[in-house]
Amino acid sequence: MDLLSLFLTGLHGALQPHNFLILITGLMMGTIAGALPGISFVNAMAMALPFTYVMEPVTAMCFLGGIYAGGVFGGSISSILINIPGTPASLPACWDGYPMTVKGLSTRALRIAITASATGGLLSAILLAVGSPPFAAFALRFDQPEFFAATILGLASVVAIAKDMPVLSALSMFIGLVIGCVGIDPHHGLSRFTFGIPQIESGINFTVVMIGLFAIGEVVDLLAKNVNLKSSFAPKPGKQITWRELWQYKGSMLRGSGLGCMVGMIPGAGATVGAVLAYGVERQASGRGAEFGTGVEQALAAPEAAKNATTGAAMIPLLTLGIPGSAATAIMLAAMLIHGINPGPLLFRMDPSLVYTIFVSMIIANFLMIIAAVVVARGFSTLMKVPPAILGAFIIVLSVVGAYGVRNNIFDVYVCLIFGVLGFIMKRANFPTAPLVLGVILGPLAERYFLTSLANYEDNFWIFVERPISGTILALAAAFVLWSLYPAISSRFKRTSEINAQTTQSN
């Protein structure tokens, strides 16, 4: 099938009424969840997971893709209107978006944020659609050592990207890696860390861990704080912004989008890192750096574009290699595995219509996001009146159903709840939880690839560096780690910074 007909197949799939409606539902849900402080798009996707069990795989991906795109944007609504970031990725939107609201320019700020986010998301979705097929074709040449190297690159960058707290990130990741060893080992059939409990033989599923860490901890926090979400004053809409004025921020938006696309592809980085980085870069590039924080419009446009630009790019490693780089894409992986779909280079050959439907849906999602954003922003004050307790109760129930549904096993619910408690403790101590989840996901993959490589290549440990592609990937991973360690070593025992601790959470 040639490219055009593949895209037409994708368009056909994405415009099927049920897929299209589900995509809109997902966008609305995501935007609302994103706008609610304390519920990030990751929580929303974890909550939505049980619903995808009923759906066709394509529909499920449209749903999750919609929540992802909408949720990453949604956080900015509350950032701009009430100065509380709805998701961590929207933190930069507080810095320059809220000052605009204070000045009485809330509609203008929202317009800029929506346009920038949609631009970033759209460019990223196009990169996904154009970039992943050739990469998947290249990845067809990968054998087990290459997959092992790619997994190691993922693990290395999880730690490398957390520049503020590499030690804690590594600690969290290794907890995940150890958890990944639990259960029957892949080659010998030996039960590990089971302590004679038969249910543990099935291992600890990453979806269950993820739901526990991301959903339950947040809800308990919501209950304890009993936050009053009602805004203290009614923002004045103020004057609108014209398309001509928006056009003059194209530089900021493109810079942000480019940066977001790059960051999105790196495993472990995600929307928050993209947005914060873009803010920093824009401060240098715009020439108005000194005024940042007072409501500079470029300072709002760039990080907004960047954070949505991570969405499509983050799906590239997921679809082409089957290696998720962030919590959001890990949930997508879970939804695919539930339906027996294994993402990876072969997927592009075996089920191109699924892949291209995902592409087209992501592109459409970023257009429709504008509508969803406007609707949610209008109804924002009403939304804030929903008692958090009711919301919390349903998040918990859906988490339980989601954990149960992975393998229809009540034991998984217990595991999920225990991880919920752990997640709550870790959140309170500002321990990053995302590396733990990635450890649980990537650990078993790495072990399998490692052992199978050895069995296939006469127990030669050098095989990973001898093969050119895997050697290159491993060198990249090593460079990443060294680059991230450099500042930590040079300023060792000067306090590790706490300032950005929160921004690396759960993304």
Partner: protein, 334 residues
Amino acid sequence: MLRRSLREAACASTLALLVLGGVATQAAADEKYPSRPIDMIVTFGPGGGADLMGRKFAQLAEPILGVPLPVANVSGASGNAGLTRLLTDSSDGHSAATLIALSVSAWAAGIGNHNPDEFAYVGMMQSSPSMLFVRKDSPFKSYKDLAEFAKANPGKLRCATSGYGTMDDITLKYLATKGVKIVNVPFGKPAERYASAVGGHTDMIYEEPGDVAQFLKSGDLRPLIVFDEKSHESFPDIETSKENGLEINDLPNFRTIAVSSKTPADRVAVLNEAANKILASPEWKEFCEGTYTCTKPLSPEETKETVAKFYQTVKSYLERFPTTAEEKSASKKK
């Protein structure tokens, strides 16, 4: 104030519960079987052979039994998580599960503490011998070519398998005793196993034909030898292991439907009758021909006999080939 509202809430909730539950008293224990949906537990994840079989069975059994059979995948521990679930559910015949050769051989290897006596068998649904497959451009045209090459170059050939201590491993170890030394390369995920053979990263793959049907139909893989006494109906030209003087013809991949052994015999009989009707249906014929797994119907007792015999066979093989310390202690423990 708080206490009052608490009480009010409690009252309202209790009332609501009564309304929900009150109407429910109509449901007395009824004798008709099946009287409600039968939970169909598939003991492996979606997309595999057991999943296809379980879903097909549920679909065809629904009109025969008159109740739906909702399918639930309860995967983990070589199918034992699902079997444990089956045994903990009520044993009134409203829960059934897939029980396949892989799980039985896992018991023999010390995974999952079940044994054939804990189950009653609805029937033998599918059975197929395993085969060795090579890539379409492989230099080996027959098992003899392969054996000669392996004898001349011990340890040069690599076979993709599902792990150590499995039927795959037993077969390779048996071949090694005949001088045909092939390296076992385990792949945890079936999809990776197939990809390695199709992509030429390994030289051959040990599998039942149904699981690689799509590669057989596309011509990416071709069979070399079937491990059975008689040749396979769908591959009449392929040599059997017996013809090659090998005595490893007793490790078929079978799939049964099982219920708890505590299930009343008349209910098992109802299910067995349904299974026989399904096996005779044209839909099932088409399904089993597509997966190369057609088998003749067996009574619950005959099925149990087959499973128990297979269990003993695998155990004795594992005792015969205890090459690792791990397997030695595993076989001693049993």
